[in-house]
């Protein structure tokens, strides 16, 4: 069996820890994810889905337990170390595209590489163009974010999450802001890319129809994680 790309052991997260307003959101989560798997995380609002995603994305740190991303225990890293993991191992897709209006479609796609290297290499640019062509944005390279449609913007954001060749992509309601048709297209695209590139995709969604198409479904209820069977 392959080594897990993501390994979470006894993860607890408490907000306002050490005060009388302390709230434990995650009560000891254990999970693993393999490269190429497409995992849907479902649950009610406030159940702890986004908290789990933020910790897996090295945006937040656990109160207890350990989180290993590609063998690196992120719970012991400082701010620069976490930034490095985010820059090199992880890609993010948010509900809203959050593209930078000051930059073109291609520049936005290359942003993670630009942040890490200062400026993208010729190979990076060629790779980003290939990905943009793959998602149907080959003719939109020089367009600004505000000159593209919602679906195009989100596809641009997906490519941005992939240009630094991450091992893990975290998507927080990536289709939540799109109409049904665009949402289905974007979902299908992510599904294909995960399989093609061997990238682990963890997608938080409220849409059960989309979740049922994932390889695995993880359900969070009251801070506990359960695995559902897909296709039910």
């Amino acid at each position: 069996m392959d080594n897990p790309l993501v390994e979470v052991i006894g993860l607890k997260k408490t907000y306002n820890s050490g005060t009388d307003k302390a709230v434990e959101v995650l009560h000891g989560v254990d999970m693993t994810a393999l490269g190429g798997q497409f995992i849907a995380i479902v649950g009610q609002s406030g159940s702890g889905k986004s908290t789990l995603l933020n910790i897996l994305g090295a945006l937040d740190t656990p109160t207890e337990g350990s989180v290993l991303i590609d063998g690196i225990d992120i719970s012991s890293l400082d701010s620069d170390g976490l930034a490095s993991v985010r820059g090199n191992k992880i890609g993010f897709v948010f509900q809203f595209h959050h593209l930078l209006d000051e930059f073109s479609c291609l520049e936005n796609a290359l942003m993670p590489v630009t942040i890490q290297k200062g400026a993208p290499s010729r190979e990076d640019t060629a790779y980003a163009i290939k990905l943009l062509e793959r998602v149907g944005l080959g003719t939109q390279l020089k367009k600004r974010a505000n000159q593209m449609s919602g679906g195009q913007q989100q596809r641009n954001a997906i490519v941005r999450a992939l240009t630094n060749r991450p091992r893990l992509v975290l998507a927080d309601e990536p289709t939540g802001n799109l109409d049904a048709r665009s949402g289905a297209e974007v979902f299908a695209l992510m599904r294909e890319i995960a399989a093609e590139m061997g990238v682990a995709f963890l997608m938080v969604t409220h849409d059960d129809r989309l979740a049922r198409q994932a390889d695995r479904i993880l359900r969070i209820e009251d801070g506990f994680l359960h695995e559902d069977t897909p296709g039910r």
Partner: protein
């Protein structure tokens, strides 16, 4: 750095009116500083020039003789008397010698521009019932002119080639005494010598005391009028920098056994006034900078608030705190450099527009209202001060941006 510079640049370009506003704030501060500094420096330079221009920076004279105490002369012999008062001896001889040799020695001191020997004294000029007291300076006109510039202030006649029986006087004296060019006047020196001179030139310096009470003759004429024979009464020195007079006078005093006087010692109260004026000027400039820094800091803080989401997204893509800090600091630097450049340009244009405004003419001589001197150190200093102040103002919002938690801002 390339990412940070690129993002900072794009922020500034996309900032539009907000960027223009901050650039204007810096530019106005730089313009104000250049304007205030140039104006006050110009006024001071004109004032010092009017005050010191006609004066030698350093004057060498014979030293005062040492007092010879009564006690010292009465210590031997019976019936001694004790001295209760020590009096300074009345100076017997004022001629400086050997003056030609001294001129050569003095000219070798660093910072010395011109050395000229002179005979100076007081004389009366009588016109009708009026008597005017003049300070007469006698020297070789060409060298004398380098100590007390007359030629540039000459409004009638000649100066540099006057003969031993010719005299140059100020316009106010000519006006009050009704003297015209070519008139013959009599001078009576304090040594009792009376001599006739033809008025060969009239000058107007703008300095009332000089225009009313100074006269210039040749060295030979003055030697005869004040009975100094072949000698001179003082050696006058002009320096490259008038404000070095005290230092150079001290150096001269250490090596030469003469009385060396600096203009700065005689005008200490004026120098104190200038120092106070400089402090006021610097304080005004500091407040201008402070005001513009607050304006810039406010605009940049608003900019950071507007870009919180973007900062969170950049951090989610691996941007480190110091990269975000650098982006907003570079934005501040960009505003500062652009503002400093525009401010220098505006400052230059403002000074240019004021440069040629005349003030009311007197004795036919038109002077400029403002003494504008384009000093690159004022322009450079204002630009550097504004850049530093803007950078300091930018640090606060930049640090705030760097400290933003990506989770908080993405969650909104």
């Amino acid at each position: 750095m390339r990412f940070e510079a690129k993002l900072a640049w794009r922020h500034l370009v996309s900032g539009g009116g907000q960027t223009v506003l901050t650039v204007f704030a810096v530019a106005i501060a730089v313009t104000m500083i250049i304007f205030i500094q140039t104006l006050i420096t110009g006024v001071q330079k004109r004032f010092v020039n009017d005050l010191v221009g006609p004066l030698p920076h350093i004057t060498l004279k014979m030293p005062d003789p040492l007092p010879d105490t009564l006690g010292k002369t009465r210590t031997s012999g019976p019936g001694e008397l004790l001295a209760t008062d020590v009096q300074k001896q009345v100076q017997q001889r004022t001629d400086v010698e050997p003056w030609r040799q001294l001129e050569t020695q003095l000219a070798q001191f660093p910072g010395v521009k011109t050395v000229a020997s002179a005979v100076r004294g007081s004389a009366f000029l009588a016109r009708g019932s009026k008597r005017f007291t003049l300070t007469i300076s006698g020297g070789e006109p060409v060298r004398q002119d380098k100590i007390t510039p007359i030629q540039k202030d000459l409004i009638a006649g000649r100066w540099l080639d006057i003969g031993p029986d010719e005299l140059v006087i100020g316009a106010r004296l000519a006006d009050e005494a009704g003297i015209r060019l070519g008139d013959r006047v009599r001078l009576q020196s304090t040594q009792g010598v009376t001599q006739a001179f033809v008025v060969a030139g009239i000058f107007y310096s703008g300095n009332n005391a000089a225009d009313l009470g100074q006269g210039f003759v040749t060295l030979r004429a003055a030697q005869s009028l004040f009975r100094t024979g072949q000698n001179v009464s003082s050696i006058l020195i002009k320096l490259d920098d008038a404000f070095q007079a005290d230092t150079i006078a001290e150096q001269m005093e250490k090596t030469l056994p003469y009385k060396i006087e600096s203009w700065m010692k005689d005008s200490a109260f004026i120098l104190n006034a200038i120092r106070s004026q400089n402090q006021s000027r610097d304080m005004i400039c500091a407040f201008v900078l402070l005001a513009s820094s607050f304006a810039i800091a406010s605009v940049l803080i608003v900019s950071v608030i507007q870009k919180q989401k973007q900062i969170g997204i950049l951090k989610s893509m691996g941007a480190r705190d110091k990269q975000i800090l650098l982006v907003f600091t570079l934005e501040g630097l960009g505003v500062a450099i652009a503002g400093a450049f525009v401010g220098c340009l505006w400052g230059f244009l403002l000074l240019k527009s004021l440069e040629n405004i005349p003030q009311a003419a007197r004795f036919g001589k038109v002077d400029k209202l403002f003494n504008i001197i384009y000093d690159p150190t004022i322009f450079g200093g204002a630009a550097i001060a504004a850049i530093i102040a803007t950078l300091i103002a930018a640090i606060l919002p930049a640090r705030r941006a760097a400290r933003l938690s990506p989770v908080e801002v993405i969650r909104g």
